[in-house]
Amino acid sequence: MKLHDLAHARAGDKGDISDLSVIAYRPGDYPFLCEHLTAERVRRHFADIVRGRVDRYELPQLYALKFVLHDALDGGVTRTLNLDAHGKTLSSALLEIDLPEHPEDDRR
């Protein structure tokens, strides 16, 4: 199962930091996301993109996780050679993450 099946996401940037929000469609999936979508899992997914650390923040009442990826934009929007200088597409790239199947899935 892809993260895309369970959540929507948005990317932002400040300097060389990419800031990704992941929001569960269904509240029931939030604990599952917390368990599997760790900072380390996200760092591995973007292994060739993120050079610094990945911080994760939890917002349980919004069923959301926030990931802050340091040194992730090749120097930031002004000097990067990335075609997508802001890293806006990283939100959708994140939704590519493969997650294990889980019981909640049967209800859909």
């Binding site: 800031d19 002004t78 000097r79």
Partner: protein
């Protein structure tokens, strides 16, 4: 005033104009706010001003104002915008002149200046954020330094009766917090007691509005999963804020888009990093306890926001000349497209090496295959129907930057079969770094013009 109705007329420099006109006409707004400055925009505007002393403000200023001014004057809606960029005074003159041309007399247009701190910081050993070196080490490459001002100078302009307030660099949410502080008489840090929670709530409302359509269904649609009705006619948001700081986000009936807990959650968390410490010049807002509730069709209420004492320093964005970038792209299609595109990249790399082009970084990639994910992307064995090869590199001169695109365009006659659709560019990079100044060093000023 029991509630203040604030509309968002733009979320970035190039935003659409029609939704703002629709809001000005039908929004019953007290305020219409246009946020049009990204991190780099002021630095680029500063360069434009160096070339032409009357330039340096947002290129769409006159178009936007022509589209909304008559309705705003008719409905008593006050306009606030950072479209002044590097030159708020010239922008204010333009708006006053435009108002006269439209037959609007007595319009008070305020320019807020003082964010330009270049003379104040030049050559100083100020530490740079996320870097080892200091501002002094950038030497003569520095082209701009702008402090993020808070809501206070805008509040002062409103108190003087401004109908239009034009600023340069001001923290985005502060543009929206200012009318709330002004209308509700919220205490601000100069006063004896400060209600940081209310400033936090007002800042959150501003944050929801500052990207305009990004809270009403823009940048959200994912067909089949997140459908957005009538995206082509996306309406911009309205916040209805009460004196206690509670706020509801909505949009005009009949406009496109949607306001749901999902769309508002995406915008609430957008670019805030640590949700418990969203720092602006006015307050450190805490979004970590935020709650959103669908209170009606296209209507979402925000609660649970708090705030604490503002930072002692102001962030300063410094623009500096940071070399050049050259780029070239070419498309391949049909059978074996990606193999020919890869050959094209190899050939360009070899030619740049043979001709000894000094570049401090180069990128060789295939759009449609590895331009976003690069090495770690999901492995997909499917051969693309078409693919676009891209070469980009950083150089120390414009001439060298141009040679990168030149080697791509020369693939026309000297590369693999069937390449087409070459584009090449070369441009100077204006880098941005941040430093901090004690707020006491920075003095904002207001100049009032009248049409």
């Amino acid at each position: 005033m029991e509630t203040v109705r604030i509309g968002s007329g733009a979320g970035f420099a190039d935003d659409r104009i029609e939704p703002a006109a629709e809001l000005a006409e039908r929004g019953r707004l007290d305020y219409l706010v246009f946020e049009c400055l990204a991190e780099r925009t002021v630095a680029l505007a500063q360069l434009a001003k160096l070339r032409d002393p009357d330039a340096g403000y947002n290129e769409w200023l006159a178009d936007r104002m022509a589209a909304v001014l008559p309705a705003c004057v008719r409905h008593g809606t006050t306009i606030i915008t950072n479209m002044g960029a590097a030159h708020p005074l010239a922008a204010a003159r333009t708006v006053a002149r435009l108002a006269r041309d439209l037959g609007i007399r007595g319009l008070k247009v305020a320019a807020v200046t003082g964010d330009d701190v270049l003379a104040l910081v030049e050559g100083r050993d100020l530490p740079l954020q996320h870097r080892e070196d200091t501002l002094a080490s950038l030497g003569a490459t520095v082209v701009s330094a702008n402090a993020y001002l808070g809501c206070e100078p805008i509040v002062a302009a409103l108190r003087e009766g401004a109908d239009v307030v034009i600023t340069g660099r001001v923290a985005d949410p502060s543009l929206f917090l200012a009318p709330l502080v002004h209308e509700f008489g919220w205490s601000t840090p100069g006063m004896s007691t400060v209600d940081w929670h209310r400033l936090g709530k007002g800042t959150a409302a501003g944050h929801l509005l500052e990207c305009a359509g990004q809270v009403t269904g823009g940048y959200f649609a994912d067909p089949g999963l997140n459908d957005v009705p009538d995206l082509a006619r996306l309406g911009f948001p309205i916040a209805e804020v009460a004196g206690d700081g509670s706020c509801t986000i909505t949009k005009l009936p009949g406009s496109g888009g949607r306001v749901t807990v999902r769309t508002v959650t995406e915008q609430l968390l957008y670019e805030v990093h640590d949700p418990a410490a969203y720092q602006t010049p006015d307050v450190v807002a805490d979004f970590s306890g935020a709650r959103l509730e669908q209170t009606g069709p296209d209507e979402v209420a925000l609660s649970g926001i708090t705030g604490r004492e503002r930072p002692r320093t102001l962030k300063v964005s410094v623009g500096y000349r940071d070399g050049f970038v050259g780029e070239g792209e070419i498309s391949y299609t049909g059978p074996n497209a990606s193999a020919r595109a890869r050959l094209a990249l190899d050939v360009v790399a070899e030619r740049l090496r043979l001709t000894g082009l000094p570049a401090t970084g180069t990128r060789f990639e295939l759009l449609g295959i590895d331009s976003v994910h690069r090495g770690a992307g999901p492995a997909r064995a499917v051969e693309p129907v078409e693919v676009r090869a891209r070469v980009a590199g950083r150089t120390d001169t414009l001439a060298r930057a141009r040679r990168i695109g030149h080697e791509v365009s020369s693939l026309w006659l000297n590369g693999p079969a069937g390449g087409g659709g070459v584009r090449r560019t070369a441009h100077e990079i204006i880098g941005i770094v941040s430093t901090f100044l004690p707020r006491e060093e920075i003095a904002a000023e207001i100049t009032m013009l009248e049409s």
